[in-house]
Amino acid sequence: MSAQRIVVTGLGATSPVGGDVPTTWAALLAGTSGARRLTEDWAEQLPVQIAARVAVEPLEVLDRVKARRLDRSGQFALIAALEAWADAGLDAGGVDPERLGVAIASGIGGVTTLLGNYDALLEKGPRRVSPLSIPMLMPNSPAANVGLAIGAKAGVHTPVSACASGNEAISHGVDMIRLGRADVVVVGGTEAAIHPLPMAAFAQMMALSKRNDEPEKASRPWDADRDGFVLGEGAAVLVIENAEHAAARGAQVYAEVAGAGITADSHDIAQPDPGGLGATRAMRMALKESGIEPREIVHINAHATSTPQGDVAECLAITNALDGQIDQVIATSTKSMTGHLLGAAGALESIATVLALRDRLVPPTINLDNPDPAVKLDIATDQRALPSGDIAALNNSFGFGGHNVAIAFRSA
């Protein structure tokens, strides 16, 4: 692999625990849950009545006319991208538009726009379907709108691999820089699927927690009493950059994106491979591409969604990927607080991983009251410190379809 180093120079997010990155990170370190009981009328008929909505509604931030031309997922993506763009110091210029790319993923796409317009079609007829429906609901819409906002001309992409999408977007951006197609890529993911149809559908898969009376305790990765994930929403965006380009413009550096690994299980469309073989290979591939040894990994932000099968399979996969050298690893699942943001999860958790390396602090996994005996990893249940010196971390994301994506980061 090329020696080209790639660094993270900007971060942005709108999440269930905060409307921007500083607020989100402080809430994660404090162990704050973003899960709530849904108050909408439609929730009353559903078996699952909890979700993790964004902490700050997009209309509190975005111009009204701009917002009405975007699906909710596009609104989230634009908010997160503009924060990351300004954080990287690029809003004042600093990158050739033809060397600027975008890779912003979505797991499900503009589902609330799609279904809202279907309701309009049935109730009022075809004339009342919005002419903006297609440009709002297409899965590439958030990426395209971010590209328009920042003037990206190197290429605008939307990887789709369910809950691995956000990490796949980061990997795609890494490839663009390594292949010499861009100097800066705005990468991340967005999701806005809190609507009765996707919630009913996930519930029918037995994927969601039904702990309706205790929303803040419902997402409990690795706990013996876990019963599924809590659906979250939001977006997270990172600015990744050729390290020489970043140095030349004097940019801040949060961490290095050292490498990525992508594999497929080819086992089942929805169930993870119980041996975690595909996940193991993804982590090994990320380590190999990064030149990082297993003993250098001191932190893992796990996929761990709070489902009975996946959480345990991932622990096995981590142990195997690190050749059993897990004593130095402090793992966590920030999904215990944010819920599962599907196509945005990998990006939000990559931000948490990057900030853990910068601040040398691991956010807790909340609700781990009674750890599953099959879990052999050291899981942070309180805020934990990471060692000084050069350290490295992994962020895992796995998706329905058997997609596995691991990203390796090094401290700056």
Binding site: V65, R128, S130, P131
Partner: protein, 82 residues
């Protein structure tokens, strides 16, 4: 029957909703595209909202002739239900 000014005022509110242009800038001589930031997709939104508000049918073939607010007001005034 809505008067010319009532129709202009109604269209102004629609353009404000769709494109964010202050309603008092939506005057008869203004071009939807050049002056009011109404692109081709937004124009469809304006037309559909105007049909509902004024009880007229604006055929797709007619929309391209509605260059200015005045054009739209005149069409609606002529074609609105008695």
């Amino acid at each position: 029957m809505a008067s010319t000014e009532e129709i202009r005022s109604g269209l102004a509110d629609i353009v404000n909703e769709v494109a964010g242009i202050p309603a008092d800038e939506v005057q008869l001589d203004k071009s939807f595209t050049d002056d009011l930031d109404v692109d081709s997709l937004s124009m469809v939104e304006v037309v559909v909202a105007a049909e509902e508000q004024f009880g007229v049918k604006i055929p797709d073939d007619e929309v391209k002739n509605l260059k200015t607010v005045g054009d739209a007001v005149a069409f609606i005034e002529t074609n609105q239900a008695a």
